[in-house]
């Protein structure tokens, strides 16, 4: 902990013999400085006091002079803020020694509050005497302040005084007195309140309400159920405000020996709409055996709004009886009730909940209910639930099966993999596609050979993408990137079938690697056109930036314009991907790409790519394009971006080319930007 300099000076003598040090004028000086304190002034003395409070904790002989110094601040013409600060600290460390000084503050209205700040939790009972003595001379808010403090201190000796003050002409004082009596709450205080209530002063009605409820709580805490119930029942009367009736009812439930069970049942069967929700809420915490079953039987007697609330209470109970009750409401004709049951089962349900939820989840017509059921199935805890969902999926018709497979996927149910492998060849394309998607998420690398074989044998273009995706996802889980294409290459080399090879090439584009690249490049010269086309597409979608030079070379020798353009675009995309290729090599590739681009569209792509991730030397590639009417606007824009990204690179070239770029740029904002950049460079 950093202690400021002033404090350090004080720590040294404190660590020595020190008591005599504190008796020296310096402590008096601190006190004198505190006594002069006002906001905006020197705070070091205040922080010194804070440090001393911390430092002298186990040194009563050093504490005393500190306390005396603080008490001295309370006297005389100290500033209000100085006194306030002293009171705050005396509230922590003050003893009977400081009571006279604090009592002095009680004598003035403007300092009563800060005196009470100190006295509020003063340990000595003599603080109560000081407060009581001050009551006689204070009026209004100051008097109320003292009364509040006596109440907070639970000063039983103040009861008679407070009872008298509850007749004070000032309503704030009278209210404070009633509140204080309630806080004290002993037998004399309660008797005083009962007597005062009989006087029936309307102005104190809310104070008596608070007092009565507080006293009822105190009685309940003693264990006297009968007396507490009598006290609460007053507020259950129909004439009472709604919130008090609710509060009293809830309190009675807590007080009842049976936990409120009889009262709850009576309220549920009754007509009082105010109390029913609270009664139902109380079901959640009933402890007796068979409670869930008992109240489950009540659901049918309730209107839908209350049924929803009862489901909530049951869900909070969380036992088997509650679960069964909620499960049976999943099919409730009222949508809100059914929804409540479905949602509750998400948190509460288990494997036994699956059939009911699956039935809703797999309804032909999708709705909020089916969505909620699917969500709840996903939430169910435990492997038994997963197995039950798997079993339900096996029995479900195709569309429903797809939904349940989605749940298995979301639950990461790896034990579903054998089932998914089987479903991957389902005649329904949606089922098969869903199966592959699931396999992609859930399979481990050891299942890759099987997946690759399935892809190789696939003759269904409509699910090829999902199958390929599954193979790629699983291959990516192989830790060593260099090994990810191995299984696919094995299958690729084993087959001559064009369809299979085309599918493999799609996967190899994602898993990449040198051997995969070799295979793809070789495939561009296959005698089968389909394979050549698939290879070109694969190279255009290649995922590994290090392949760029070889793919560019292939673009250069492409037999047709379409292939050339596809490969070129693929390379431009690769050049924009993050990687660790040497920048000079990448720059050379950009130059090659630009040379190979015969159409403005591809040239623009190169320019845009360079502008997005500029390299040193980029200006040299883009600058000549300022003379090309079709490309000059793009080139000007790119040049501004390139220079802005790295003004230090190619500085002289930038200074030379920016004026031309500025002149060509049509956008005034770009022109300004170019001019500002030029100024900075100069």
């Amino acid at each position: 902990m950093k202690i400021h300099t002033f404090g350090i000076l004080w720590m040294l003598p404190l660590m020595a013999t020190a008591q005599s040090a504190l008796a020296q004028p310096d402590l008096a000086k601190i006190a004198a400085d505190v006594a002069r304190y006002e906001s905006g002034g020197d705070m070091e003395p205040l922080r010194a006091i804070d440090d001393l409070v911390r430092a002298t904790r186990d040194m009563p002989d050093l504490r005393k002079p500190l306390e005396s110094a603080l008490a001295s601040v309370l006297k005389g013409d100290s500033t209000f803020e100085g006194k306030r600060f002293a009171c705050q600290n005396l509230g922590i460390i003050g003893s009977e020694e400081s009571l006279p000084a604090l009592a002095g503050l009680l004598a003035r209205d403007e300092t009563v509050g800060i005196a009470c700040l100190a006295l509020g939790s003063y340990p000595s009972a003599k603080a109560n005497s000081a407060l009581r003595d001050a009551l006689a001379t204070r009026k209004g808010t100051a008097r109320a302040q003292i009364i509040n403090t006596l109440g907070d201190r639970r000063d039983a000796s103040s009861v008679e005084l407070l009872a008298g003050l509850s007749h004070d002409a000032d309503p704030a004082v009278a209210e404070a007195a009633v509140a204080a009596l309630a806080k004290i709450g002993d037998a004399p205080a309660r008797a005083a309140i009962a007597s005062l209530r009989r006087e029936n002063a309307p102005a104190l009605a809310s104070a008596f309400t608070e007092a009565s409820l507080r006293i009822a709580d105190q009685i309940a805490a003693t264990g006297d159920r009968a007396a507490a119930a009598t006290a609460y029942e007053e507020f259950c009367q129909p004439s009472q405000p709604t919130h008090l009736r609710r509060a009293a009812f809830a309190a009675l439930l807590r007080t009842d020996a049976d936990g409120g069970e009889k009262r709850i049942l009576a309220a549920i069967h009754g007509q009082d709409a105010t109390l029913k929700p609270i009664a139902i809420a109380g079901v959640a915490s009933l402890k007796s055996g068979g409670t869930s079953e008992k109240f489950a039987a009540e659901i049918v007697n309730l209107d839908p709004v209350m049924q929803v609330l009862m489901i909530g209470a049951m869900a909070a109970r969380g036992d088997d009886g509650a679960r069964r009750a909620i499960t049976s409401e999943v099919q409730n004709a009222n949508q809100s009730v059914a929804m409540a049951a479905i949602r509750a089962l998400g948190a509460l349900g288990d494997a036994t909940s699956v059939p009911a939820l699956a039935k809703v989840a797999t309804r032909r017509e999708e709705s909020e209910l089916t969505g909620a059921a699917l969500a709840s199935l996903q939430q169910l805890k435990g492997t038994a639930a997963s197995e039950a969902i798997l079993a339900a999926a096996k029995e479900a018709p195709p569309e429903a099966r797809v939904r349940l497979m989605g749940v298995l996927l979301a639950r990461q149910t790896t034990q579903a993999v054998p089932f998914l492998i089987e479903q991957a060849s389902h005649e329904d394309a949606k089922v098969a596609a869903a199966a592959f998607r699931g396999l992609g998420k859930l399979s481990e690398p050891k299942q890759l050979p099987a997946l690759v074989e399935m892809l190789a044998n696939l003759r269904r273009p409509e699910i090829e993408k999902d199958a390929c995706g599954a193979v790629v996802q699983v291959a990516r889980r192989i830790a060593d990137p260099a090994r990810r294409s191995d299984e696919i290459l094995v299958a690729y080399r084993k087959t001559d079938a064009a369809t299979a090879r085309c599918a493999m090439l799609g996967a190899l584009a994602e898993t990449a690697g040198p051997q995969a690249l070799d295979a793809a490049l070789a495939a561009t010269e296959d005698r089968d056109q389909k394979i050549r086309d698939a290879a070109t597409r694969a190279l255009a979608n290649w995922s590994d930036p290090s392949a760029t030079p070889r793919i560019l070379a292939k673009a250069d020798s492409a037999p047709d314009t379409t292939s050339r353009i596809l490969l070129l675009r693929g390379c431009i995309r690769l050049l924009g991907l993050p990687g660790d290729r040497p920048k000079n090599e990448m720059l050379a590739d950009y130059a090659t790409a630009l040379r190979l681009a015969t159409r403005p569209e591809e040239k623009r792509m190169v320019i845009a790519a360079l502008a997005a991730t500029p390299l040193p030397g980029s200006l040299g590639i883009v600058a000549p394009l300022l003379d090309d009417a079709a490309l000059q606007a793009d080139a000007a824009h790119a040049i501004v971006r390139i220079v802005k990204a790295n003004p230090a690179a190619d500085r002289e070239q930038a200074k030379a080319i920016l004026p031309k770029a500025a002149a060509i740029a049509k956008d005034p904002a770009q022109q300004r930007e170019a001019s500002e950049l030029l100024k900075k460079l100069k």
Binding site: S39, E110, L117, G120, A144, Q145, A179, V308, G406, Q412
Partner: protein, 434 residues
């Protein structure tokens, strides 16, 4: 216009709902009332807002987005804020019906108001809540719910006494990323939890300032409320600076820290108890330059009886705040600024269905309150939970202010140190009392 329920459910929405209900209690939709989307005025819950400054305006959209709420009144002791709050409400509802009350007690006296959103400065949260409870209103109160431990306990007792439905504004209990972290910890995905690291930012410092006349339109007496009187000093009160003076705030350890202690308590399922030891160290502001009182930097530890340790750091920037649960087989962390969840082993993250909305959207937290108002069942951040989380931060600060290690009895709610026990209570300025 209230949204109408979809008839068809998309997969994305299905997954979002799944994530949102990981540990959520019952949801009682407005459609329960047979309204099928459009909420009739008679079935709306009428709210008043007490304290309509920056925080209220920030959170208000989460309230106004609920189809079954209507704000009918606002209250503030500053005329400028009251005026702009009314303008906001009138613009939202397309009428001029919003009533204004400089004195919040007049708002509470309105019989047509069912509940209140309390977004005053921290010093008012408990007192205003207690008044609201006595007036029969249900409550959403911004955090911190109290400034001292005794005040928090009084709030809990009052809400129980009046059967008040109360939601503490630690809305991260209703945020998907935090819920996900909780679930992963409870499922044992990081092994046995032993440490919870919580980082809030370096405490701001406020330069010296002198008393000045109270600006026109400020009711400073009401602004102070239960705080014992002190002169109006602009640097102490404006721009949120009040956070850094013990009378009116408790610095970032409570301001943000209570969100994290709340998460810690919830994750550990300790909403009715707390740690038993506190110790730490801090750096105080330089009194030569600054008048603020709360620590600039701090490291405070709390320990539960079973040895689990919470460590609160006050360091770094605002954006670097986080909570991290550390177990003997890994860890999981939520970065508050980005709502990003990171973990080791990384495979844990694959269990997360969807990102969900960030903590900044308090919609689910408000929704939870509304459901509880209708069902009369406890909210997700009920008073006892909020108070216990708050107590941890307050105990940390007490320990720092006294410069000592403290032992705490969470059953008796007492320290092993008399001076610390004295700091659990502050006498409110009359006429206010708790």
């Amino acid at each position: 216009m209230p949204p109408s329920p979809a008839n068809r459910i998309s997969r994305r929405r299905f997954l979002q709902r799944a994530a949102a209900t990981i540990v959520a209690p019952m949801i009682v939709p407005a459609s329960t009332l047979g309204l099928n989307g459009a909420t009739a005025p008679s079935n709306r819950i009428a709210f008043g807002c007490i304290g309509v400054g920056n925080r209220a305006r920030h959170v208000m959209p989460s309230f106004l987005a609920q189809p079954d709420i209507v704000f009918t009144a606002v209250s503030d002791c500053r005329e400028d804020r009251l005026k702009s709050a009314k303008e906001l409400m009138d613009a939202h509802y397309g009428n001029k019906d919003c009533r204004t009350y400089p004195d919040f007690r007049d708002l509470l006296a309105q019989k047509d108001i069912d509940a209140v959103f309390i977004a005053t400065g921290d010093r008012w949260h408990t007192t205003a809540s207690i008044h609201a409870a006595r007036a029969g209103k249900d409550i959403y109160s911004e955090k911190p719910i109290s400034l001292y431990i005794g005040e928090g306990r009084a709030l809990v007792e009052t809400c129980r006494r009046y059967g008040t439905i109360y939601q503490g504004g630690t809305q991260r209990r209703s945020t998907a990323s935090y819920r996900f972290a909780l679930e992963m910890v409870r499922q044992g995905r990081i092994g046995r939890l032993h440490t919870v690291e919580m980082q809030v930012w370096t405490g701001p410092t406020i330069p010296h300032d002198k008393p000045a006349p109270v600006p026109a339109g400020w009711d400073y007496d009401t602004w102070l409320g239960p705080v014992q009187w002190r002169p109006f000093v602009p640097g102490r009160v404006s721009g949120g600076n009040w956070n850094y003076f013990w009378d009116t705030g408790e610095g970032p350890i409570i301001g943000m820290g209570c969100h994290y202690t709340d998460q810690m308590q919830w994750t550990l399922e300790r909403d009715h108890t707390g740690p038993t030891e506190f110790d730490g160290k801090c750096e105080w502001p330089d009194p030569v330059k600054f008048m603020s009182e709360t620590p600039v930097a701090a490291e405070v530890r709390c320990r539960y009886a079973d040895g689990i340790t919470g460590v609160m750091y006050s360091r770094g920037t605002f954006k670097e705040r986080y909570i991290r649960y550390i177990g003997d087989e890994g860890w999981i962390q939520v970065d508050d600024e980005t709502n990003a969840v990171t973990a080791e082993p990384k495979s844990i993250l694959g269990l997360r269905a969807t990102a969900g909305v960030s903590w900044d959207n308090a919609g689910d937290h408000v929704r939870n309150l509304l459901d509880s108002i209708r069902s009369r069942r406890p909210t997700i951040c009920h008073p006892e939970a909020a108070h216990r989380a708050q107590t941890i931060c307050q105990a940390m600060n007490i320990g720092l202010r006294l410069g000592r290690k403290l032992r705490w009895d969470p059953v008796a709610e007492r320290f092993d140190c008399d001076e610390a026990n004295r700091m659990m209570w502050r006498e409110a300025r009359a006429p206010w009392r708790v």
